[in-house]
Amino acid sequence: MILTNVSTVPGKTIVEHFGIVQGSTVRAKHVGRDLMAGLKNLVGGELKGYTELLQDAREEATQRMAEQAQQFGANAVVNIRFATSSVAQGAAELFAYGTAVRVE
């Protein structure tokens, strides 16, 4: 599966188009991480636990999107965008969407 966030796949031609595909995941932070983050919050700096959480969530969303594209018979997703929304306190939704295409 080729993933790009430009409107084509550089070096390849789009031969078929399958429409929008998307994947999302909602993640909440857990208490342990929150406690550490709270301590770290006094002195400032990077919150590694949250960075990891964010990374996992983003990968999961991308993978779900790729799976959906695969079901359509696509071999690439172009024009991918990431977006976030907070659905509940302390939880965040990360979603990825793009256009499923077949390239040659």
């Binding site: 790009t4 966030n5 550089p10 949250y50 964010l54 991918i80 965040a92």
Partner: protein
């Protein structure tokens, strides 16, 4: 001594402010130094926000690369921001926070692209997430989450 014990709340508060100020500004300076050093190192890898078009036989591979960072603010700066909320205006203490998070995210993305042997990153996009809560609320974790993503292009060797 009695005075100290009587005003334990106030003492705790002052200790936290001092700790936040010293540790916070030390960490920030250190982070900025490391960001600047790595930015210089990765300068040869061009990043553009435009899509660009490439001759067909020139591109070997195109991959999505991402990078993210969550940076939190220290106690002292949060206090400054709360005071700023009363009068309004430019909240300088948060500007550096957002700046650090974005630059760190871009750097991580560039590192990921370099590992893939990319020659260029096109169509850079920046996104802000909200896993922690808003940066400006009391008794909550004040942090900024930045995501940077783009398409890394690996060129054919000529």
């Amino acid at each position: 001594m009695d005075l100290l014990l009587d005003n334990l709340d106030l003492v705790m508060f002052l200790v936290l402010v001092c700790l936040g100020y010293t540790a916070g500004s030390w960490a920030e300076k250190k982070h900025y130094r490391s960001i600047e050093a790595r930015e210089k190192e990765l300068l040869s890898l061009a990043v553009v926000t435009a899509e660009g078009s490439f001759p067909k036989n020139n591109v070997a591979q195109a991959v999505l690369v991402t990078g993210s960072a969550v940076v939190s603010i220290d106690y002292f700066k949060r206090l400054l921001a709360i005071l700023r909320n009363i009068f309004g205006g430019r909240v300088k203490s948060y500007e550096s926070l957002v700046d650090r998070a974005r630059r760190e995210a871009i750097l991580r993305m560039k590192t990921a692209a370099q590992e893939q042997g990319a020659g260029m990153i096109v169509n850079l996009r920046l996104e802000t997430a909200a896993i922690g809560r808003n940066a400006n609320q009391k008794k909550q974790i004040g942090s900024v989450e930045a995501i940077a993503y783009g398409t890394a292009i690996r060129f054919n060797r000529v």
